[in-house]
């Protein structure tokens, strides 16, 4: 029931904004949807798998850069660029995960962080592809079907459909055998091994799937802004994705999307609010305070709080 309502609101959103003459918000909403996908992918490893990855921006940024680099080389077809972005991010996740998952606890947090920084510096040093400045795309990917994605309406619905598809697949996965094993490993890794699960393999696959989805979200963000820059891979970006997940609710199905929406809306409100006057520039201050409050006093996140209320 609630899902239908959400779907209805999401579907009607651009029309309502158009009618109100606020088309800007459709573009903003598209950004929210893309970050919702990235946050949901992080929630898979972080919330369900219990792997505190502090380098998720690496896969997000890799997806974006791959689309941008292919475009710079003249390949703009969606059918080539996006699958390559997803595969590239998945491959990065495979390599990073294969090494990182040998470690545990803080070492895992630190090594994923270090790998993400490594990718960050690799892209910065690619002078041919923009270096520090990043890389602009000539436009959105071409579909080859006579539909142009430069129309913000079309673009919004495509992103919405992809997000819905990704969430549906994640939902199936989490309730299938694989998802149960992933959660079991989070609950008690020792015991999972003792009843015969090759823990490492499950964690690695989970990590790769999550990286692939983040890569898709990255491909979308590059299209959204027609730009891929190193900040997409910076560790602060990884931190932002984690904030989204924890704001929304770690290990809650809607945690990622809710957190992404809340954080981006907060950012928008605080950075554009006339109420704050000259302090609007300092929007990170209230965001930091809110994050601190949530972490200290509502560790279940907003999805957790909602679930508690409806019980």
């Amino acid at each position: 029931m609630r899902i239908l309502l959400v779907a209805l609101v999401a579907a009607a959103f651009p029309w309502v904004m158009h009618a109100l003459g606020q088309d800007f918000y459709t573009s903003f909403a598209t950004r929210v949807l893309i970050y919702a996908m990235a946050a949901a992918s992080l929630n898979l490893v972080l919330g369900y798998g219990g792997m505190v990855s502090f380098g998720h921006a690496a896969f997000f940024g890799a997806g974006a850069y791959i689309v941008a680099i292919l475009a710079a080389e003249g390949i703009t077809s969606l059918w080539i660029a996006w699958p390559v972005a997803v595969a590239g991010a998945a491959l990065a996740a495979l390599v990073i995960g294969a090494i990182s998952l040998r470690t545990r606890g803080v070492y895992f947090i630190m090594i994923t962080l270090a790998f993400a920084q490594m990718m960050y510096y690799v892209f910065i040093s690619l002078k041919a592809y923009g270096g520090d400045d990043g890389l602009s795309l000539p436009g959105r990917s071409s579909t080859g079907l006579g539909v142009s994605l430069s129309n913000d309406f079309v673009w919004y619905y495509l992103v919405l459909a992809l997000l819905a598809l990704v969430l549906f697949l994640l939902h199936r996965l989490l309730h299938a055998r694989f998802g149960r094993v992933i959660e079991a490993i989070r609950e008690n890794e020792t015991r999972a091994t003792a009843i015969g699960y090759p823990v490492y393999r499950y964690q690695l696959l989970c990590f790769v799937i999550s990286g692939a989805v983040a890569g898709l979200a990255g491909a979308l963000i590059a299209n959204q802004t027609s730009y891929a820059g190193p900040t997409l891979l910076h560790w602060v970006q990884s931190g932002t994705l984690m904030i989204m997940v924890i704001l929304g609710g770690v290990g809650r199905f809607w945690g990622g999307p809710i957190g992404a929406a809340v954080l981006l809306v907060l950012e928008e409100v605080f950075s554009a609010s006339p109420l704050l006057g000259p302090y609007a520039l300092h929007w990170q201050l209230p965001v930091g305070l809110i994050l601190l409050a949530v972490v200290l006093f509502a560790p279940q996140g907003l999805a957790g709080a909602l679930a508690k209320r409806s019980q």
Partner: protein, 306 residues
């Protein structure tokens, strides 16, 4: 490659490594004793540099401002520990990461509100602005030599503090087995506040010494924080000796990589390939080092526990 270049780069490595050690020393003790990830450590470095720049401006003297900045930053650190971080010791690492990440956001904005968006200038102390001639005829910036001297002196003091004093023994005991240390009567909370304040003062020292070389600006703590984490992970969390070895290693690999790899690549590859490959490989070298160390020794080089 000429001997002079090599010597110069060795000194640069040393200077960079020693400054990293100042940052990593506090971080590794905080990590080791309380099992706490503190991302806000970089913010203390930034705050230390800002306080130093302001105090140097106000007092007109680098040497008068330095102790004041150290004490002020230590107080900021102690206040942060008592008011917030204490609540996080019993929480999981994810919570610690996010809460201290929030502290970064807050600290950055507060610094912006107080000092504005422009970066601050911090001049090296009078008389140390020019180069000196080293034995062998090499010219080297005198201020950089000072950094090496200060860094080495602090490293020695810290080493003596940790290995020779009773407080150092208690700190090491706490880092390897907190409950047993408590059962022996160690007031871990107070000890930890002291360690934290000391760590903050070391951050301020690094910020103050590096201020004249790098820009004093918002966000300066973020990148160097990650390097400090790399150092302590390589060295083994909780180990001062590990932090020292790790810091020198990272300083050496990073500096030498940046200086020597492009030269090596220019000999091996065609110019366009070399000019692309050189910077990217050298910039990730320390991360490769860290991955390799963790791959072979998942607990770092000098694990404090077990």
């Amino acid at each position: 490659m000429s001997g002079i270049l090599f010597l110069e780069q060795t000194l640069n490595s040393l200077q960079f490594g020693l400054m990293l050690f100042l940052l990593a020393a506090g971080l590794t003790l905080v990590f080791g004793i309380m099992d706490m990830i503190n991302l806000a450590h970089g913010s203390l470095y930034m705050i230390g540099a800002y306080l130093m720049a302001t105090l140097a401006e106000a007092t007109g003297s680098f040497w008068v401002a330095l102790p004041l900045a150290l004490v002020a930053t230590a107080l900021v650190g102690a206040a942060l520990e008592v008011s917030l971080l204490r609540r996080l010791y019993e929480r999981d690492h994810l919570t610690q990461v996010l809460a201290t990440f929030a502290v970064i956001l807050i600290a950055n904005e507060v610094v912006r509100m107080i000092w504005g968006n422009q970066s601050l200038m911090l001049n090296p102390p009078a008389g140390l602005t020019g180069p000196v001639t080293l034995p062998g005829g090499m010219q080297y910036a005198s201020y950089r030599l000072l950094i090496i001297g200060v860094g080495a002196a602090v490293a020695v003091c810290l080493y003596l503090l940790v290995t020779r004093t009773r407080m150092g023994m208690l700190v090491r005991a706490g880092a390897s087995n907190r409950e047993m240390a408590v059962a022996m009567g160690v007031n871990i909370r107070r000890l930890f506040t002291i360690v934290f304040a000391l760590g903050a003062a070391l951050c301020a020292l690094a910020g103050a010494m590096l201020g004249p070389i790098l820009a004093v600006q918002v966000g300066m703590g973020e990148n160097i924080l990650i390097l400090a984490f790399v150092v302590i992970v390589i060295g083994g969390i909780g180990s001062i000796r590990g932090a020292f070895v790790g810091a020198l290693l990272v300083g050496l690999v990073d500096t030498m990589g940046r200086a020597l790899l492009p030269i090596a690549f220019a000999k091996l590859f065609s110019p366009p390939v070399a000019s692309n490959l050189g910077p990217s490989v050298s910039s990730i070298l320390i991360y490769v080092l860290m991955a390799a160390v963790l791959f072979l020794r998942p607990q770092g080089l000098f694990p404090a526990r077990g």
